[in-house]
Symmetry: C2
Subunit: 355 residues, 2 copies
């Protein structure tokens, strides 16, 4: 596999004002909103007899970040798996659980590890590295969970940063209200990354194992620019442009920056799963999300993007950008109109035994 450029900085570590652990209520709601769908997937699709020989049930949370969200997600999964084992009459030989918390190597694993409860029902491990690479031995995982993570691309599409390309994203940092070429480049990068993601996971997940992907996205066929999260990015972009106009940052800095995220639709995820061929889709749903208050949204953006922005623009712009300009624009905007929905995609997959 070719070396991937991984320009993304992880969510803010620690426990402070701008930390992810203090500013991830939106991501938490996605975990809460999908709990019953995960329960249903496990109840209906997990064939516990397939795994009874190993006696260890291995779970990975990809892009776990820090704080209580990943702990909650994992707890829910384990409860559902235990329930399934018990209901199939194997209650006496419940498996032991090993949980792998994965995020980039620069994620604040120290914060994560010291926040683990002293009494947990599993053996915990942290796995550093991009989930666009192999992270686990072959056929070693029984359940993979990834929430609010796989909308991060492995990289900014090459052509949008190439001045000589028709897809050069001049004067912008996001794709949704850009040219058709730029949008196409991001669509293609997501397709490529999802292909790679699925190919790798197919190697790591046992036959019969399950994977649940939860990612912020949009309705099938909805224009990118109509989507809540893209609208919010456009406000962030417009804040940066304001700063460039005031001379606080250079135009060149804006031209050379793009956020490596993409908000897909279920159709796009489904197409990738079908191209891959190693997974069956068991459940697929759009989950409409309550739109967050401006204060929450600007803080969530800051906790997630600060590291990436800081590296490119320096840290002196962060307060002005997130807490003032973006916050004001979010307050004044029409993001609360009906036509602009905030959607999470839920997809549960089962590793088939054919491929």
């Amino acid at each position: 596999m070719a070396e991937l450029v991984i320009p993304i900085r992880p969510m803010n570590g620690g426990n402070g004002l701008y930390s992810y652990s203090k500013n991830s209520i939106i991501q938490r709601k996605a975990i809460e909103a999908t709990k019953e769908l995960i329960n249903k997937t496990i109840a209906e699709e997990l064939d516990v007899n397939t795994f009874s020989s190993s006696n260890t049930f291995r779970i990975a949370d990809l892009g776990c970040s820090v704080g209580t969200n990943t702990l909650l997600a994992v707890k829910n999964i384990i409860n559902a798996v235990q329930h399934k084992f018990q209901s199939q009459g194997n209650g006496t030989k419940l498996p032991e659980f090993q949980v792998f918390f994965n995020d980039q190597a620069s994620n604040d694993f120290n914060q994560l590890f010291t926040s683990l409860p002293s009494e947990i029902q599993y053996f915990a491990a942290g796995v550093p590295g991009s989930f666009y690479r192999r992270l686990f031995p072959k056929y070693s995982l029984h359940f993979v969970h990834s929430s609010s993570a796989a909308h991060w691309l492995s990289r900014v599409p090459e052509e949008v940063e190439d001045k000589s390309s028709p897809a050069w994203n001049k004067g912008k940092v996001h794709y949704s209200n850009s040219t058709a070429e730029v949008i196409k480049a991001f669509e293609a990068q997501f397709a490529k990354d999802m292909d790679n993601f699925l190919k790798i996971r197919a190697q790591e997940i046992v036959h019969g194992g399950l994977m649940v992907l939860i990612l912020p996205g949009r309705f099938n066929g909805a224009p990118h620019a109509n989507n809540y999260i893209n609208k919010a990015y456009e406000l962030l972009e417009s804040s940066l442009i304001d700063m460039a106009k005031k001379g606080m940052i250079s135009d060149e800095k804006v031209d050379s920056f793009n956020v490596p995220v993409y908000y897909a639709s279920l159709q796009e995820v489904e197409a990738a799963v079908k191209r891959n061929g190693c997974f069956n889709i068991e459940l697929m749903e759009n989950i409409i999300h309550e739109k967050p208050q401006p204060k929450v949204m600007s803080a969530t953006f800051r906790a997630g993007l600060e590291g990436t922005f800081k590296e490119h623009f320096g840290d002196e712009i962060l307060d002005e950008l997130f807490d003032k300009l973006l916050y004001n624009k979010l307050q004044e905007s029409s993001l609360h109109s009906k036509s602009c929905e905030s959607v999470y995609l839920f997809v549960s997959l089962k590793r088939n035994t054919d491929a």
Copy 2:
């Protein structure tokens, strides 16, 4: 298992002047000095056919800390295992390797993860927690390595901190030149901890799996007070007493503090292995260590003990204690006499299939 008191702070994190990663040459030498013994253990004792069904070879380094030492140890082990697989004619189906780096939850895993080379021959994971607890699923490890770690006790023996006990270690922070009661309490704590350590590892290691323990210790039958490392601790203790005399710390602070370490002999480790019954001893050796220069020794002590001392005495004493008083005493001492050896114990064990 009852809750254990874990008063120990991990080695200094980061990459700074007093970091473990910059001050662990003594521990590195132990890894270098035991490389051939590990190779021999693997070449002679590892039955690769036993493990060929799983196709993942799982290694744990217990008490790994940070820096390059653990990476070197792991690399040596993997090379030896690969060599063994190849020499048994199974070269075409080399296993994949998964390596678990374990240390306390407050270890600087961030430093460890960001120091992993970008191209490594294994899947890396960090496992937070005391090795006096279960850390891994049943029968999931093929090779356990622990170097310069298991001389740390799970706790200070209760009675040495109990004013009403004949084993109260008044006016002292170490056991080697203390009363017979204090020495006995530390001996008993080591025996208890090693029993617990072996009991837990016997659950985690597959039948036929190997474990190598490398720990600073002393010759069989040698008085505790004759041992280099204990002598060095006595100098540290005497430095603290000097500070108490000068009023820099209170006598009460000295009375209520003990370093939870113990330097065993091979006989003691052997006795614990026999009590346990789940392992066969394959190799056992004393390795004489070059005695470090005073500067190296005081820096090594500081990198390893600073956290524990800081918690009890505050951080204002650290420079004076380690860099001045201890360093001066190490320079003036007779630790370089022949009668006072610095020894590492090497023990390789194989999980038997009987117990």
